[in-house]
Subunit: 235 residues, 2 copies
DNA sequence: TTTATTTTTAATGTATACTTTTTTCTAGAC
DNA sequence: GTCTAGAAAAAAGTATACATTAAAAATAAA
């Protein structure tokens, strides 16, 4: 009761804009594994937790569905999406293509100041790892990839990357929850990519980026991303 | 009055699912230029046209906003999105990366039957061009790229491509509306890409695909800024 | 005539009421 | 004991009512 009314007040603070709040609320519940894969998300439960009406809740759920974090079964229920290993390979496959593009664009459009900002994000990721905050560790890891796309100044690329990264974030949190000793992508790789970026060495940056992702996602030559070996040919 | 009730009945036919109908209704209004770039889309106008309530209309508008065909100004109004040449260069830049990936995946996962289906789509596009149906001509042209992604069996790639192609569709319709003599992408290129696909010649297929898109959109080989300035080939 | 202020209006955001469908629970048959 | 049928409940889809805000209009002041 006490908690409910508190939340209500907080959400109501900048009313007229409930849906984005609810969106973040549910999204963060999912990313922090307070609701897990396959678990139902009844509109009523969110309504009751936030003390608002169904309208903005439905809007938030639809948006999350669009982003693939929630699956809506019409007239039945909404549930947290499930990602299997095949899904993640598919995600990674697209990400490798787009991150490669991001590197190219970043080298063309990025200033040294941009790259220094990028390096700072890696530093923060290292900090998070030291402190043991896994969620923050993952967030900063992925923030590197997002920032890289930002530097490229292509809004469509950036939007797509955000949407993909959101799902990867959830997947990694899940994996770690299942098995706390799950290894994460090697942060040091990011520094290596950075070095190539600052030298404006596109080929090398892309090569390191691909190794980084292919290595982590375990995509072998027979897997989908095996193609990426000889592909500095395109674009 | 008469028209209103007719539409209402039609929409109500499979009620319980109004939002998707409304989504398609507004989307097709936009793609067919019945509502043009920058024009406002008051919820009330759709409500009145379809004889339904605001709820599913709002849902449809939000979805269109997610897909970038509509811009929602909170508490003010929704309008049809505007795409300038820079936007289209950015879109095309991402598409080239993703279509290249699509070619790789298609060669890896596609059967001969898949490619025959693909060729049929090109044939239909040629038909549409002969018949002078510009909308169908564009639709079939883009259907080729969508089908190519479908063959690759990567759902994330496919979703992204659909979303990008939707915007390109609108942009091309707009350009043709502004200047009816606007040239469209060369259909024959699709046959050339097809040939390489059937030979499972990845390098050649990608090369032809890139030439196809770069040629039309006037993007330089670095995947960066376009050259609309000096190319009257483009619009 | 112009500009500032107030009022009105029109539009969106939110809450609630109503409808329809799906699920759950229970009673009865086998 | 389980299976089926029907009633009851729960949940989502839709419609409508209400609240809030921003634009437009109207009025007042300079």
């Amino acid at each position: 009761m006490e908690k409910e009314s508190k939340t209500r007040i907080e959400v109501k603070n900048d009313a007229g804009d409930l849906a984005p709040h609810v969106y973040r609320y549910i999204r963060d519940m999912i990313l922090s594994l307070q609701i897990k894969s396959g678990q139902k998300i009844p509109e009523a439960s969110i309504v009751e937790q936030l003390g608002i009406s169904r309208t903005p809740v439905r809007e938030a759920l639809r948006r999350l569905s669009n982003e693939g974090l929630v699956v809506i079964h019409p007239r039945r229920f909404s549930e947290v999406a499930t990602f299997n290993d095949e899904d993640i390979v598919q995600l990674a496959t697209v990400r490798i293509s787009l991150d490669s593009l991001a590197v190219r664009l970043a080298i063309r459009n990025g200033s040294n100041a941009d790259f220094i900002r990028l390096r700072k994000i890696i530093d923060e990721c290292v900090e998070a790892e030291k402190s043991g905050d896994v969620n923050e560790r993952i967030k900063r890891d992925l923030a590197f990839h997002i920032e890289l796309s930002k530097i490229g100044l292509n809004k469509y690329l950036l939007n797509i990357q955000k949407s993909l990264v959101l799902k990867v974030h959830f997947f990694l949190m899940m994996k770690i929850d299942e098995n706390p000793s799950t290894s994460l992508p090697d942060i040091q790789d990011h520094y290596r990519i950075m070095d190539a970026l600052m030298e404006r060495n596109e080929t090398e940056a892309i090569k390191r980026l691909r190794n980084h992702m292919i290595g982590f996602y375990g995509i072998d030559k027979d897997g989908e991303a095996g193609f990426f070996e000889d592909s500095d040919s395109f674009i």
